[in-house]
Amino acid sequence: MDKVTTQNERRFTVPACRITEDESEVLAEMEMPGVQREGLDIKVDGNALTIEGRRSDEEPRGKWLLRERSRRDYRKIFTVDESIDRDGISAELVDGILKLRLKVKEAAKPKRIAIG
């Protein structure tokens, strides 16, 4: 049974995500109910941006009458391209939603060319 247990621990829920962008930044909003600030782990490794969220709520005891919610921790891996400034990533967690802001590098922003 050991093998099964390890696999269960490795399984994650992918948080529902909404991504919007404009010329200067990309905003990713991820729904992670049950995660607190301390439970968040965000890291960039090369082109991979990994977000992990550990749930802090404990499993209630008793008889389950309805069970729809996921109990797994969250994980989402984004691939970020060269236009994103690796040092300009900021995160904010409010009411179970993680807002991740990725700044677009100056060089990658569209340039307006004035006609002389």
């Binding site: 696999q7 529902a16 962008e21 009458l65 409010v94």
Partner: protein, 152 residues
């Protein structure tokens, strides 16, 4: 099959069957990794809910990320718990290009039939980290597990 195992018949009992089925499936297919990609079938239009019956209370957990306290409305009528709310879309996305959207927004309403042992006068609700927790105490006579059997 042990016929004494089932304690009480409630209208939610049908979910036991689903739980058992899910347990079976997880045992049978537990070794397969499900693709970790949200797809069409995962689309939600309402919050996901858990209902757990403890010894002296019934706990209802609702995932409502991004929903504010003032946008939630709870009511209990007898053993029916009604949860209404408005999950508002964050304004920030307006005027920007949406690249991907898996989240849902809008009003929702769900009514749950709880065991008839609950006491509608003792309800507590708390909203934290995007989870709404509603605790409904059971009536005192229902908390005691002893059953009297009359001998003829």
């Amino acid at each position: 099959m042990n016929p004494t195992r089932r304690e009480r018949s409630t209208s939610l009992d049908i979910w036991d069957a689903f739980d058992e089925l899910r347990g079976e499936l997880e045992r049978s297919f537990g070794n397969f990794e499900l693709p970790a990609v949200p797809g069409l079938l995962d689309w939600q239009t309402g919050p996901l809910i858990d209902v757990v019956e403890g010894d002296d209370e019934v706990l209802v957990l609702v995932d409502v990320p991004g929903v504010r306290k003032q946008d939630l409305e709870l009511s209990v009528t007898g053993s029916l718990l009604s949860i209404k709310g408005d999950k508002k879309q964050a304004d920030e996305g307006k005027g920007r290009k949406t690249v991907r959207r898996e989240t849902w927004a809008g009003t929702f309403s769900r009514t749950l039939s709880l065991p008839d042992t609950v006491n509608p006068d003792k309800v507590e609700a708390m909203l934290k980290d995007g989870i709404l927790r509603v605790r409904i105490a059971k009536r005192e006579e229902a908390q005691k597990k002893a059953v009297q059997i009359s001998v003829k």
